[in-house]
């Protein structure tokens, strides 16, 4: 039965200028939207109404926003702006937030998001502008909190990536300024389990950074994209298990699982060159021609990593791809960009032998655009054998935001009345029309 992407709702009221990015709260059913009118709007994922507006902190467009993880009791939001500063905002979640565990979100947030009108106004007041992080020379494009440490990464048109450590509340110290990119740094993303940072750049490259001895440095360089890399993101630590049960796999598949387990979470990237690529850490014990790739030979060998382009997602987009998001729950990927399409992909074991992908595609890739062949092309000479898995398009929506470009898509837990199962997900898209739209994926 075909998978379809269905429009569920538009968050109201919409912003009447461009909106850049919407980030779901780590545990509350709310989403923060970065707007070019210098505000961040907080919408409820339960009724899709605006709960509050955060404004007054920035002199120019807010390009990006990120929630601090594991901050129960108080929500902490970081905003990155074209005014080249980053802001930290705080807001108490209220006493009923105390001692909440996962799963109960709905109950305790009912108070927060259920109520509107009067309470909203209070909410407005409750957002406190805690601290400004100055340092970048020009527009901040993206920022991200580390899941495993009190670290915040910011990146900017000034070609640098900054890592800030929060010593105690609101006291941020610069621990690293990484300047090896040769162009704007468009996006930063943290590894889910390690203190490993990925950055994507206008110089068409992706770099990985980690602490070497007591110094942050670039440990991997991924080249290949033929245009600005707009977005990078790691898959969930358990990404591998989304392929289904480990039972009765053939050797090729077992081998692949082994490789994946050794490599750990993969990285996905999308680019102005309209491609979406998946990168995997190369295994150490295969000495690939890595030395050549890393310019800085004086660094200790085991610090350097080699990441290989494992797969390229089916070519559906006709214009720059601005964003990809990797579902923590299903391992599915959703992408969007200038052509206003939203596309959902799925990874699956490659059907073997003669029976070719095409018919499968017919079956599965429902509204896949007729033009593109909707299966991973066979990249990856890089580490020997062909992939045991392949990516297919499972659903697609055109003109997702009317005729406007879509800047961002992201998965989030579903929280509205229509929710059926606990781990049901929605896709949140953010566009140039100033609208934040909610989509559901039905199988």
């Amino acid at each position: 039965m075909p998978t379809t992407l269905t429009f569920l709702a538009t968050c109201t009221p919409p912003c009447n200028t461009r909106t850049w990015q919407s980030t779901p709260h780590p545990h509350l059913p709310i989403v923060a939207t970065a707007c070019s009118d210098k505000t961040v709007r907080i919408y409820s994922l339960q009724n899709f109404q605006q709960l509050s507006t955060i404004s007054g902190g920035h002199k120019r467009s807010i390009r990006s926003c990120a929630w601090k993880p594991n901050s129960l009791g108080e929500s902490v939001l970081a905003t990155g702006s074209f005014d080249s500063s980053a802001g930290i905002w705080r807001r108490w979640e209220g006493e009923n937030a105390a001692g909440t565990g996962k799963g109960q979100e709905v109950d305790f947030t009912a108070g927060l998001s259920g109520g509107n009108g009067a309470q909203d106004d209070e909410d407005d007041d409750e957002w406190r502008f805690a601290v400004v992080l100055d340092g970048h020379d020009s527009e901040i494009k993206s920022l991200a909190f580390a899941p495993t440490a009190p670290l915040l990464a910011t990146c900017s048109r000034d070609k640098s990536v900054w890592i800030w450590e929060e010593l105690e509340d609101d006291n941020f110290e610069t621990v690293a300024v990484l300047q090896e990119h040769e162009g704007d740094v468009k996006c930063v993303a943290w590894h889910p389990k390690e203190e490993l940072l990925a950055s994507a750049s206008y110089d068409d490259n992706i770099r990985l950074w980690r602490e070497d001895v007591d110094d942050w440095a670039c440990c991997a360089l991924m080249t290949g994209h033929e245009g600005t890399v707009w977005w990078v993101e790691f898959e969930d630590a358990n990404g591998i298990y989304t392929l289904g049960s480990q039972e009765n796999l053939n050797e090729e598949q077992q081998a692949y699982v082994a490789t994946r387990l050794e490599a750990g979470p993969r990285l996905i990237s999308c680019s102005d060159d309209t491609t979406i690529r998946i990168w995997r850490k190369a295994s150490k014990n295969k000495p690939a021609a890595s030395g050549a790739r890393m310019p800085s030979i004086w660094k200790n060998r085991d610090f350097e990593e080699e990441w290989l382009e494992e797969a390229r997602l089916p070519q559906v987009h006709e214009r720059p791809v601005y964003n990809v998001s990797w579902s923590r729950k299903t391992g599915r990927v959703v992408s969007t960009g200038s052509d206003g399409k939203i596309v959902v992909y799925e990874e699956r074991w490659r059907k073997d032998g003669a029976e070719k992908n095409e018919d499968v595609v017919m079956a599965e890739g429902t509204s896949a655009s007729e033009s593109s062949k909707s299966v991973t092309e066979e990249v990856n000479g890089q580490d020997g054998h062909r992939n045991a898995t392949e990516w297919i398009v499972v659903a697609e929506a055109e003109n997702a935001h009317d005729v406007f470009e879509v800047n961002h898509v992201v998965w989030a837990p579903r929280a509205d009345k229509g929710k059926t199962t606990d781990d049901e997900e929605v896709i949140i898209s953010t566009g140039d029309d100033g609208e934040v739209k909610i989509w559901t994926l039905s199988d």
Binding site: N16, T17, D37, K38, K59, R60, D83, G434
Partner: protein, 995 residues
């Protein structure tokens, strides 16, 4: 009797005697038998005699004579000061005897030079004006004595100059500048020339702004002019003037530059030619930059004028040397620029040469000789079309100069131009005939060149003229491809001006050529109307008018004979109409010749009367009417009377027993009666005709166009021919009395006739009470019906009408619009406020129907009452025309009194945003026509410009977003407005982001 008394006695009778007396008292002073102080005190009573001004004057005269009789060194310095002060005092206090005082002071002067201290005293502002006036007067009354003064006294000049140092007061400067011209022009300045010059040039450039409440009304320009006159006063100034002016020409201030150039022009006109000769080349070297790299267009103009003045000046000299010396470098440089034409420089060269040539035949001749050989050498030497265009663009201005010259001084020598006539002709004719059609600018350049060449008398011989004319004619007739540029339009213009310069050739070549192109019997769908249009336009030139109309008439007749399709005969008639309305027919002291009526109008009329068919071609009938109107209207009573009585018979027949066939003539009658003067027609005829037309209109059944003309005829008759005194009775007799018309029926026809009558009355403005009565009747009618015929008719009341005009001898009250406004608008606005919804629409329609035609000046006082109504008008459904007119009003409000709208900004913006789109409103059943959409956007675009920022900024984002939709409107012109509008709103500064 004291000396003074004696003096006063003698003063009038015997001047010599009086002088004696004065001399006598002088000697007394000399031998100290009389003290100065006593003398002065003795004068006291007479000097201050309030009653007798004359006496006061004489007493001063006494002092003057006395002083002049006094030998030097008698009076001490102090005494002289004393007197000086005293006299100056008088100057200020007393107008009487200024002359005498002056003499006195001069006398005083001769007794001993005014030392610096006294000079200082002059600098005290209080006395300043007095002194200035005095000296002015001295120079005026005592030219000789003053000149003598300065010739004798070497010290005088410097002192004289130094008097004026540091003067600031514009009043004084005005006088000083003028008085200084006396020494400058009349005295031998000798060594003092430079000082004298500097003393005035220090003030250059004048940067004086008169205070807002300047009592003396002295403008900067006044000062500038006088200063200019000083600078230009004497050729001896040249060595100082030109260098300093040239130096100032490098100034960065546009104004300074402007002053410099004007001063230069003054100098060049005033100084002697031989002086100018010394500086001519230097000036050129400086001036050219203003033209080659234009900063400000008007500076370039001034520079060009200056160059031309120099040329003219040098041409005055008997010998050639100076002029050649001046022209040589110029021609050389221009020729160099020709090398890489077209460039800014080559274009500028064209202007320079044009300006020079204008300065006189001699110069023009030299320029032509100097440039044309090079120009055409280059022309033939190059294949590049662009280059050739560039060269023509230099050639044409030169010819143009010749044309202008020969208009100013006929018989200007043109041989030097003639020498290249053939070359030029070939070049340009080839360009027009052979160059690819896409080379628009090149062919245009040739076309203009050709036109100029033809306009220069005697340059081309007849053969050449014919060739040129043929070429242009051919372009006009056969270039159908309009894909490339508007060359055809230009060609038509050219043809028109050629018709002026070479009428004969137009008659012999062009007109026949056209006749060949115009068939007698074309296919119905192939009427050569565009060719006819062009042909008719030739009639704008008087010299060919008669030929054109005659040919048209013949065409028409043969077309009629062969039953050509009506479309064609109509087109031919229109051509005739065009010729008679917009062309230049022969006139007899300002009035078109009456003979045209017999030759052209009459036959056409007979034709109409003759064809006894009901299906007369309305258009044709109307056109004939208009032709006849054009010729008949200006004719005198006598001629009109004869014509009228000629036609009376058939018209009477028609009126009496209206057969369908006669009814068809209404469109003709409308224009016919439009032309006739009121005194020509008999009241009875009018009444009958009125009755007839009214009944036609009332019974309907006619085509809309017929009815329309009948109704307009009704208005005309009422307005022009019915005597106000008998108005009501006549209307009753004719069955057109509005009250009774509307009493029992409110049929559309009745309403139409009523409104027609009222319109006539309103414009006439003579039957006030009746008009008011009628206006009220139709207003009441609105309350009685919710049918929308009446409301819409309101817009006809004040609608302009090409029949009811002064030219048609109609009485048009200058105040009729104000009157209607006063009588109708208040009632309507109140009605709008009170009426229930379905009536309201009617009132709104009527309201904007009136407002539509009112000049803003009338509306503006009542704005506050109107705005709400107008806003509601925008909500009307399916009233595009009404909405449009409401929007027009808003547009003018936004232009003139935007602030009155600031309180309504919100509601206005919302309405405009709905009326500027098709998308959202279609569903709501509102239909926004292209016009409404465009106008709405126009108004919307005015808001950010006209209203205060704080009023509009809050709406910025909303508007900018909503307008995105209009950017995709189906219609191009709407999109155009949308873009302008959106740009205006995007331009609004939300005042953030400071760095």
């Amino acid at each position: 009797m004291s000396d003074i008394q004696l003096y006063l006695l003698e003063a009038d009778k015997n001047a010599a005697e009086a002088k004696q007396i004065a001399a006598h008292s002088a000697s007394k002073l000399q031998d100290k038998s009389l003290k100065l102080i006593d003398l002065v005190t003795s004068l006291e009573p007479y000097l201050n005699n309030k009653e007798d001004g004359d006496q006061r004057a004489k007493s001063i005269g006494y002092v003057a004579d006395l002083l002049s009789a006094l030998p030097p060194k008698v009076l001490s310095l102090q005494e002289r000061h004393l007197l000086c002060d005293f006299l100056l005092g008088r100057l200020e206090g007393d107008v009487e005897g200024v002359g005498a005082t002056a003499r006195a002071l001069i006398a005083l002067e001769t007794l001993g030079k005014w030392d610096s201290e006294t000079v200082q005293k002059f600098k005290l502002q209080t006395e300043r004006l007095a002194v200035v006036q005095l000296v002015d007067l001295l120079l005026a009354k005592h030219r000789d004595s003053t000149r003598k003064l300065q010739t004798e006294d070497a010290e005088f000049m410097p002192a004289f100059i130094s008097y004026w140092e540091g003067e600031k007061d514009p009043r004084n400067l005005m006088i000083i500048f003028s008085l200084l011209q006396v020494p400058m022009t009349e005295w031998d300045m000798g060594s003092h020339a430079q000082d004298l010059f500097d003393s005035v040039f220090n003030y250059f450039p004048i940067t004086f702004k008169p205070p807002p409440d300047d009592p003396y009304g002295i403008t900067a320009q006044d000062l500038k002019d006088r200063l200019k006159a000083c600078i230009a006063a004497n050729s001896d100034f040249a060595p100082y003037a030109f260098p300093q002016l040239l130096d100032k020409l490098d100034s960065t201030s546009i104004n300074t530059k402007r002053d410099v150039l004007q001063a230069m022009q003054a100098c060049i006109t005033e100084y002697e030619a031989k002086t100018i000769n010394l500086y001519s080349v230097t000036l050129w070297d400086a001036l050219k930059f203003e033209i080659l790299n234009v900063q400000e267009e008007d500076l370039a103009e001034e520079a060009l004028r200056t160059l031309s003045l120099i040329g003219g000046k040098l041409a005055e000299l008997p010998e050639d040397g100076p002029l050649n010396a001046y022209l040589r470098p110029i021609i050389k440089e221009c020729n160099e620029h020709l090398e890489d034409a077209p460039t800014k420089q080559s274009e500028a060269s064209g202007r320079i040469l044009h300006a020079l040539a204008l300065s006189g035949p001699v110069v023009a001749d030299r320029v032509a000789k100097g440039v044309l050989p090079v120009l055409f050498a280059l022309y033939h030497g190059s294949e590049s079309i662009t280059k050739r265009r560039g060269l023509l663009e230099v050639f044409t201005p030169i010819v143009e100069a010749f044309v202008k010259l020969s208009q100013l001084l006929p018989g200007t020598k043109i041989t030097s131009l003639q020498a290249f006539a053939e070359d030029a002709l070939n070049a340009m004719v080839r360009a027009l005939v052979n160059a690819p059609k896409s080379e628009v600018s090149f062919r245009l350049a040739s076309l203009t060149g050709l036109t100029q060449l033809l306009a220069a008398p005697g340059v081309l011989n007849d053969k050449q003229i014919d060739r040129a004319v043929d070429t242009v004619t051919d372009v006009v007739l056969h270039e159908q491809v309009d894909g490339h540029g508007n060359i055809r339009a230009q060609a038509i213009k050219a043809l028109a001006s050629i018709a002026h310069s070479a009428p004969q050739s137009i008659r012999d070549r062009t007109i026949p050529a056209f006749m060949v192109e115009l068939p007698d019997l074309p296919e119905a769908n192939a009427v050569p109307s565009t060719k006819l249009e062009v042909f008719a336009q030739l009639a704008r030139e008087r010299q060919v008018f008669d030929t054109v109309v005659l040919r048209l008439k013949n065409k028409l007749n043969s077309a009629r004979r062969q039953q050509a399709p009506p479309a064609y005969t109509r087109a031919l008639l229109l051509s005739l109409l065009y010729a008679f309305t917009l062309g230049s027919p022969m006139e007899d002291d300002g009035v078109i010749l009456s003979s045209y009526y017999g030759d052209y109008a009459q036959p056409l009329i007979d034709d109409i009367v003759r064809q006894d068919r009901a299906d007369k071609d309305v258009a044709e009938v109307e056109i004939v009417g208009r032709i006849c109107n054009a010729i008949l209207r200006p004719q005198g009573v006598h001629f009109q009377a004869t014509v009228y009585h000629g036609d009376r018979e058939w018209m009477a027949r028609m009126v009496s027993n209206a057969t369908a066939s006669d009814v068809g003539t209404a469109p003709f009658l409308l224009y016919y009666y439009g032309a006739i003067r009121p005194e020509v027609v008999e009241a009875q005829d009018v009444m009958l005709l009125l009755k007839h037309q009214a009944s036609v209109a009332l019974h309907g059944g006619q085509s809309q166009r017929h009815t329309a003309s009948s109704l307009r005829l009704v208005s005309l008759l009422v307005n022009k021919f019915i005597n106000p005194k008998t108005m009501r009775s006549t209307l009753e007799d004719a069955g057109t009395e509005a009250e009774s018309l509307l009493q029992n029926t409110s049929s559309a026809q009745a309403l139409n006739v009523a409104f027609a009558v009222i319109k006539g009355l309103v414009l006439q403005g003579k039957s006030g009470t009746l008009t008011t009565k009628y206006l009220n009747i139709i207003l009441d009618h609105l309350s009685s019906t919710s049918d929308n015929t009446a409301p819409h008719l309101f817009s006809t009341l004040l609608a302009p009408d090409d029949i009811l005009t002064k030219e048609n001898h109609c009485p048009i009250s200058g105040l009729h619009k104000q009157k209607v406004f006063g009588q109708v608008i208040p009632k309507l606005t109140t009605a709008v406020r009170t009426a229930d919804t379905e009536k309201k629409a009617g009132y709104l329609v009527a309201l904007s129907g009136i407002l539509r035609w009112l000049p803003y000046s009338i509306i503006s006082p009542a704005l506050t009452d109107l705005i709400t109504a107008l806003l509601q008008t925008l909500d009307l459904h399916d009233e595009p025309v009404i909405k449009a007119s409401a929007l027009t009003v808003f547009e003018s409000i936004l232009m003139h009194d935007p602030q009155t709208l600031s309180t309504h900004a919100a509601s206005l913006i919302t309405r405009l945003l709905t009326s500027c789109t098709t998308a959202s409103t279609r569903s709501a059943g509102i239909r926004n026509t292209t016009e409404v959409r465009a106008k709405s956007l126009l108004c919307l675009a005015l808001l950010p410009r006209q209203l205060k920022a704080e009023t509009v900024v809050p709406f910025r984002r909303q508007v900018v977003k909503r307008l995105m939709g209009c950017l995709d409107d189906a219609k191009r012109n709407v999109r155009f407005e949308a873009v302008r509008c959106r740009t205006a709103w995007l331009g609004l500064d939300e005042g953030v982001d400071d760095e």
